[in-house]
């Protein structure tokens, strides 16, 4: 989650920053580069990545810490995100709120976000303010001053954020619980925002020790994209970040999710729900867990069957059979832990969730044997490869894509080679992953129902609206 969501602001809508699923680089002919970044690692372990883009005299400066909600101690959920909020409070040099005031005074936009895997902070400013942004980030990386006076109001803010994102919406509450059901062992089962009770009890010591343990130059990546020259950025980084001392990072537990054999159903009935919905999620290969060879074929497969209005699932369930108002699927391999495949649909009026589920399962069974035509596979590959070129039409997207990749343990080459890896996917590989993944068990099915519904397996939702 990010520290704030604003409404209309100076002419644009600022979007809430949520855990980004950025898969992929742009395409350009095979063998060519995508963003052509330059990189350097400082003596203290800080990685610095630069993408030059001379379109406008501005830069995006991002600082990614390789620590996220999954690194929180047991019973202390919400810690990483709470710390993210508190990073905008006082340091030895700054009063609480002064960081944001300085950024604003320098014409900068800023925000931050926390995910399971990493925590990132960023500013977009005029290029001549880059040094100042680095100075500010270097300061708060090591000099944060936490006191009860700043912590307590912010705890309340976070509880409001939790209410907005989760408690106010039955569907979000269901997804929170089905996430907990999906991960039998891995800390991904704990929500990034934290369980309410645990947020309420996080202490100043909890936060301080998490901060000291993980916020260090050898656990961080600086990514700069914009109207800069790489060598000048490296010089600035050395000037502002070079003097920070590396710390002894703790060894991360080698979390392993055991194989999932049992299928779980998570059902929730709530008076706020007007129309039922259905989704099914399962763990899947990630860049961390592998197997690598399945990832790009899965990306092509899932995009083809569930990514958009011309996708197989949408055309079949929504357009042809008319059993759903919406239907799709997505796949996320960009994680330090297990990846996920998610199928989702909302039943059409007069169709029960069970009927929808039957239809969806039939569809998947068919796709497992016969997923996509060769022509469709080529179309999807082209679309994925083109997305890399389109990512260049943005100041911040290249920085986000590179930052995310490095923060989860991938390399610059992995990003730059994305088009080649997609191009290399064959129809045979797509058929192979379809057969092995689409009829797999060990999934969690989430069903959201209006209160009046008798049960999942009998009858229609009785809610009349």
């Amino acid at each position: 989650m990010s520290r704030f969501r604003t409404g209309l602001h100076a002419g644009t809508v600022l979007l809430v920053m949520t855990a980004l699923v950025l898969v992929g680089a742009l395409s350009i002919p095979a063998g060519a580069a995508v963003f052509s970044p330059r990189t350097k690692t400082l003596a203290n372990g800080l990685e610095v990545v630069v993408v030059e883009n001379h379109r406008a005299p501005v830069v995006t400066h991002m600082l990614w810490y390789k620590v996220g909600a999954m690194d929180e101690p047991q019973g202390k959920s919400g810690l990483a995100h709470f710390l993210e909020h508190l990073m905008f409070k006082a340091t030895d040099k700054l009063k609480a709120g002064e960081f944001s005031a300085i950024v604003a005074r320098n014409g900068g936009n800023e925000n931050a976000f926390t995910t399971q895997d990493y925590t990132a902070y960023f500013q977009s400013v005029s290029k001549d303010r880059l040094g100042l942004m680095m100075k500010l980030e270097a300061d708060r990386m090591v000099n944060l001053k936490l006191t009860p006076e700043v912590i307590e109001p912010e705890r309340k803010v976070i509880l409001e954020e939790r209410r907005m994102r989760t408690d106010n919406d039955a569907g979000s509450q269901l997804q929170e619980e089905s996430g907990a059901a999906l991960f039998r062992n891995h800390p991904y089962g704990t929500p990034v925002i934290g369980w309410e009770r645990e947020i309420e009890h996080l202490s100043i010591d909890d936060i301080t020790s998490f901060y000291k343990r993980y916020y260090a130059p050898n656990n961080a990546i600086v990514v700069v994209a914009g109207d800069v020259k790489a060598d000048e950025v490296f010089k600035l980084a050395e000037k502002y970040y070079g003097r920070l001392k590396p710390s002894d990072l703790p060894t991360r537990p080698d979390w392993r999710e055991p194989p999932h054999r049992a299928d779980i159903m998570v059902t929730m009935k709530d008076a706020r729900v007007k129309e039922p919905s259905w989704s099914r999620r399962m763990t899947a290969p990630s860049f961390a867990t592998g197997p690598d060879k399945d990832i790009y074929p899965l990306e092509v497969l899932i995009n083809g069957i569930g990514g958009g209005g011309s996708s197989v699932l949408y055309q079949s369930l929504v357009v042809d059979k008319k059993v759903a108002n919406s239907a799709g699927a997505w796949f996320d391999p960009a994680a330090r832990g297990p990846g996920q495949i998610v199928f989702y649909a909302e039943p059409a009026k007069g169709v029960t969730v069970e009927e929808l589920q039957d239809a969806f399962q039939k569809e998947l069974a068919g796709l497992a044997k016969n997923p996509l035509s060769d022509a469709d596979i080529e179309k999807i590959k082209r679309r994925l490869v083109d997305s890399a070129e389109l990512a260049l039409d943005s100041l911040s997207t290249p920085a986000r894509v590179l930052g995310q990749a490095l923060a989860i343990g991938r390399s610059v080459d992995d990003v730059e080679n994305y088009p080649d890896r997609i191009e290399a996917v064959t129809p045979e590989q797509v058929r192979d992953v379809a057969a092995r993944y689409l009829s797999r068990h060990g999934y969690v099915t989430s069903i959201l129902l209006p209160k009046a519904t008798e049960s999942v397996s009998t009858g229609e939702a009785e809610n009349k609206s």
Binding site: F4, T6, G7, L8, H9, A10, G11, T12, V13, N53, R55, A56, P57, V58, F88, A96, G97, S100, A101, A104, R105, N106, G107, G108, N109, S124, V125, S126, R129, P153, E154, R155, K156, V157, E160, R163, M164, N168, D169, R272, K274, E275, G307, G308, G309, V319, N325, S326, A348, K349, K379, R383, D386, S387, L390, L392, D393, S394, L395, S396
Partner: protein, 451 residues
């Protein structure tokens, strides 16, 4: 295509202000060159030739073609048209259109607001020709085949039904309906179930026939394209439109700012609170003073006065914001916050308190300078992607700000004085007329009687 996610109509309106110039303040200035392009058939567009990425981005508006044109009892017609003209046109049915758009990564989508109907077109240049052909057909020969019409209708209705549980939408609908009653702004642009069920294909076709003309069309284009390349594209896409549309000229709407609070009971732990009073029209002489004032009060995220009192000091909210919403018929100064039910009364009281304080005491010189530095210094950030530049070109034309606006804008902001801002505060801020709507279970506040 219709997007299933519910949208709060108050916040879904994007880019109400076109402010764009490559900045002066920190950093170097770079003037933006806008060309006025007129095609052989007389279609006009503003173009910024930007070869950074090999794309074309085109943003266009049919003025007065939004919900204001919906017939009585059929509110949601413009919205349904916007959701359907990309679902089959000319020789290509819905599946064919979507297949091409997705295979070629082309964006072609439409959005109907209360007043206007907007279109976005974005494509890598190598796919442009196919996309232009689709766009032409969408505007001149939409098919409105039975399958997509019924599918989109179902999706719109499903959205409307689900929005009944969304406190943001319930609050904002309640506010607009309380302020405007049966006038055009009193109902959301997506309509209500009864209306949407009754919209026929004839209604959809009639809207297209009446709404899209060459005389209510405004176009902004950016990308790796020259004026000579653009002219035939303009003719191809828009050349077959009728010379004159029957779009509505916006009329004045009377808003009942009674300073009261409407409460809609909704079983959620956090109430959505929206509020509004009269605001300046885009060309009002006080507009820039109020624009800066609003930024200080509630438009600057964590740095705003409202955020300082309500979030930073007391932790009552995650979000509190205010903004100008210069609807042609009734310009507004509005805001939003979300807080747990037990804190609503306190939060509402703090909003009124800040409103009073600023009306009576104004803002400080330091607050003004900081606001100006941000607004001018951050301006270049709007010029980092093609679609946002094209949107600005369209918006500047819609507001009649002049082709040199981008290069003047920062000077305009910089020249606003403290006296002007504080005079505007004294004249415009009306804490007693600030009208609220709340969706939730705010403690100590009874639900309003249903109407």
């Amino acid at each position: 295509m219709h997007f299933m996610k519910s949208q709060v109509r108050f916040f879904a309106l994007i880019l109400f202000i076109a402010l764009g110039t490559l900045s002066a303040a920190p950093g170097s200035a770079r003037a933006v060159e806008i060309e006025q392009v007129t095609s052989d058939k007389g279609i006009k567009a503003w173009l910024v030739h930007d070869p950074s990425v090999d794309v074309i981005a085109m943003e266009f508006t049919f003025r007065g073609a939004g919900a204001v044109m919906d017939p009585q009892g059929k509110r949601g017609t413009a919205n349904m048209v916007a959701s359907l003209i990309d679902e089959g046109a000319g020789e290509r049915d819905s599946k064919a259109v979507r297949s091409i758009l997705e295979a070629d990564s082309i964006t072609m989508r439409f959005n109907a607001g209360l007043e206007d109907l907007h279109g976005s077109f974005y494509s890598l240049n190598r796919y442009r020709d196919e996309g232009i052909s689709l766009l032409h057909d969408a505007l001149t020969a939409p098919r409105f085949d039975k399958e997509p019409v019924e599918r989109i209708r179902r999706q719109i209705i499903s959205n409307l039904v689900q929005e009944q549980s969304d406190p943001d939408t319930v609050a904002s609908n309640a506010l607009m309906s309380g302020l405007f009653g049966s006038q055009a702004y009193g109902m959301p642009s997506d309509g209500d179930q009864k209306a949407v069920v009754s919209i026929s294909t004839d209604d959809l076709r009639a809207h297209v026939k009446n709404a899209f003309g060459r005389d209510n069309l405004i176009i902004g284009v950016t990308g790796n394209i020259t004026a000579d390349e653009l002219k035939p594209i303009l003719d191809r896409v828009f050349g077959d439109l009728p010379a004159h549309s029957k779009a509505m000229k916006p009329g004045k709407e009377e808003a009942a700012f009674d300073g009261g609070t409407v409460v809609k009971s909704l079983d959620v732990p956090q109430s959505s609170v929206v509020f509004a009073q009269a605001g300046p029209a885009r060309r009002d002489k006080d507009f820039y003073a109020l624009y800066i004032l609003n930024h200080i009060m509630g438009g600057s995220g964590l740095n705003s006065l409202l955020s300082g009192e309500i979030r930073e000091k007391r932790g009552l909210v995650y979000t509190v914001t205010s903004y100008l919403h210069p609807l042609t018929g009734a310009p507004l100064l509005a805001g939003y916050l979300g807080t747990k039910n037990a804190s609503v009364k306190e939060a509402v009281g703090l909003v009124r308190k800040v409103w009073k304080d600023v009306r009576d005491n104004g803002v400080t010189s330091a607050e003004l300078e900081d606001a100006k530095t941000f607004l001018t210094g951050s301006y270049p950030l709007r010029f980092t992607n093609s679609s946002s530049i094209a949107s600005m070109l369209a918006a500047i034309q819609e507001d009649g700000l002049g082709i040199d606006y981008i290069n003047r804008r920062n000077d305009i902001i910089s020249s606003v004085t403290l006296d002007q801002v504080n005079a505007a505060a004294g004249k415009w801020l009306k804490p007693d007329a600030l009208t609220f709507a709340i969706a939730g279970k705010p403690e100590g506040m009874a639900a309003s009687p249903a109407n």
